[in-house]
């Protein structure tokens, strides 16, 4: 199994982020709001996904000066996004000592066949997935945290639900198999055999499983946690809402007390309205982000 020492410290940080909210930020001011509201980490990116969607063009890693300023401003872990397959962007982020790299479909992919070989890096990676096979391919490449992709920048939780339900269902199915049925399961899901074996034996992924992409209200966060997410990423929702700090606090509260409806109700009452949402079925196929990555 790949659980060597270096990989264990990477997964260790992911463990520390469980039960919390990781917030997308594009500058130090937003990072401070996130930290004050109780975020467990911030994710630096060039524009929030809904703006990337609106403005088009090529979305790349954040400007270095912005990431540095965020690192100096907050004491919680700072994550940053690199383009899929762009290992040189990842090398730069590692040299900058970010705490986690998100090899993310939200940015424009740099390689349409290969993802980054993540094992040689000292910094841990998180990657998106839509199903168990995709999750295990990313873990096989060295990802220390998995997040279901959802459809970022839509304010619509439907894809996040689809991806989380899929991965949890496939995990449950896998645990019911006989050991002589595992190889064909690995073949059908295009996943490394030893990771299929691990999931079969443990009933869970070898790394934490978080949720992202379209979470726009406290109830959305509670929904994803009840479906099996161990932490939620919130992106466009916060800074597209009229009261970012209040919104961020309410999401944190709902994530913490996800299985206590009275507390989620309190969180819902604390904010006026979520961001405007998009119907995922109205978005052109080539504009969907979740399909990026392979």
């Amino acid at each position: 199994m790949i659980l060597n020492e270096a990989f264990r410290t990477k997964i260790g940080l992911a463990e520390m982020l469980k039960g919390g909210v990781i917030m997308d930020v594009t500058n130090a001011e937003q990072a401070l709001i996130a930290e004050k509201a109780g975020a467990v980490a911030v994710m630096a990116l060039i524009r929030v996904p809904s703006d990337i969607r609106k403005e088009g063009g090529v979305a790349r890693m954040s400007p270095i000066s912005v990431i540095r300023e965020i690192q100096h401003t907050v004491s919680i872990p700072v994550m940053a996004k690199a383009r899929i397959g762009h290992f040189a962007e990842a090398q730069v982020l590692e040299a900058l000592k970010v705490d986690f790299i998100d090899e993310s479909e939200v940015l424009t992919p740099a390689d349409e066949e290969n993802h980054i070989d993540k094992h040689p890096f000292a910094v841990p990676f998180v990657c998106g997935c839509r199903n168990l096979g995709e999750a295990l391919r990313r873990i096989g490449e060295g990802a220390a945290m998995i997040r279901t992709k959802g459809e970022a920048g839509t304010g619509n939780v439907v894809e996040a639900v689809r991806h989380m339900r899929t991965i949890m269902r496939e995990l449950r199915q896998l645990t019911t198999l006989r050991s002589d049925e595992l190889m064909v399961f690995a073949k059908n899901h295009q996943a490394p055999f030893e990771l299929i074996e691990y999931c079969h034996n443990h009933g869970k992924l070898p790394v934490p499983n978080f949720s992202a992409g379209g979470i726009a209200t406290p109830a959305d966060a509670a929904l994803m946690m009840q479906l099996g997410a161990e932490t939620v990423f919130v992106g466009s929702g916060i800074y597209k809402s009229p009261e970012p700090e209040q919104f961020a606090k309410a999401i944190v509260k709902a994530t913490l007390h996800y299985n206590d409806p009275a507390k989620v109700l309190e969180a819902c009452e604390e904010l006026p309205d979520g961001m405007p949402g998009l119907d995922v079925r109205q978005i052109k196929q080539e504009e969907l982000m979740a399909g990026r990555g392979w």
């Binding site: 020492e5 264990r8 410290t9 260790g12 940080l13 463990e15 520390m16 982020l17 469980k18 039960g19 919390g20 930290e35 004050k36 509201a37 109780g38 975020a39 467990v40 980490a41 907050v74 004491s75 919680i76 872990p77 590692e94 000592k97 970010v98 705490d99 986690f100 000292a122 910094v123 841990p124 932490t231 606090k249 944190v252 509260k253 913490l256 007390h257 206590d260």
Partner: protein, 190 residues
């Protein structure tokens, strides 16, 4: 079996609380997650897990738990790892933040560096040879006379006890080794 009487709480505002619960359960302890004051009032001892101390502090403040947790610590045993140890210290630096002041020690946050400087090492300790997982770990810069140092790394205390309280700057809960948790349970059951 020892531990069947007392109820152990694991503060579950965020962090690796499940790992602590697994270690305690493995040793036969009864455990609950503590997210509310009501849950805190039911337990005989508390573990404050690893995680982000800034985040935990904010949440303790927002939900009115900070002072009550300090009062809890004035009477009952607390075991803190990493972020938990930071919260239990007298003073905290880098950056400065308030703390529960349950143990006579000063702690510097993220003192070994950022995540790329995280590491796993072997330590000699009063409990024998231990594997210590350091993740964005703090350094205990000073311990008072009432604090017993049970293990050190590179000259700094990393596992310390003061009376009923125990703190580690590393993560015993991330290894399969439950001796540090057993040591805490021995304090609680004594």
């Amino acid at each position: 079996m020892a531990g069947n009487e007392k109820l152990y709480g694991v503060l579950a505002l965020q962090g690796d609380y499940e790992k602590h619960q697994q270690s305690l359960t493995h040793l036969g302890a009864r455990t609950i997650f503590v997210k509310t004051l009501d849950e805190l009032s039911r337990v005989h001892a508390l573990v404050i897990p690893g995680g982000e101390s800034t985040t935990m502090l904010r949440l303790l403040d927002y939900y009115g738990m900070f002072d009550i947790l300090r009062k809890f610590g004035a009477q009952k045993p607390i075991f803190g790892t990493c972020a938990g140890a930071i919260l239990m210290a007298r003073t905290v630096s880098s950056p400065a933040q308030k703390s529960l002041d349950l143990m006579d020690m000063d702690v510097e946050r993220n003192a070994y560096g950022r995540q790329v400087d995280s590491r796993i090492v072997r330590l000699d300790s009063a409990l024998g040879d231990l594997e210590a997982v350091f993740i964005r770990a703090p350094i205990i810069r000073r311990t008072g006379p009432g604090v017993e140092v049970l293990a050190s790394y590179l000259g700094d205390a990393v596992l310390v006890r003061q009376g009923r309280h125990l703190a580690a700057s590393f993560h015993p809960e991330l290894t399969g080794d439950t001796r540090v948790h057993q040591y805490f349970m021995d304090i609680v059951e004594a």
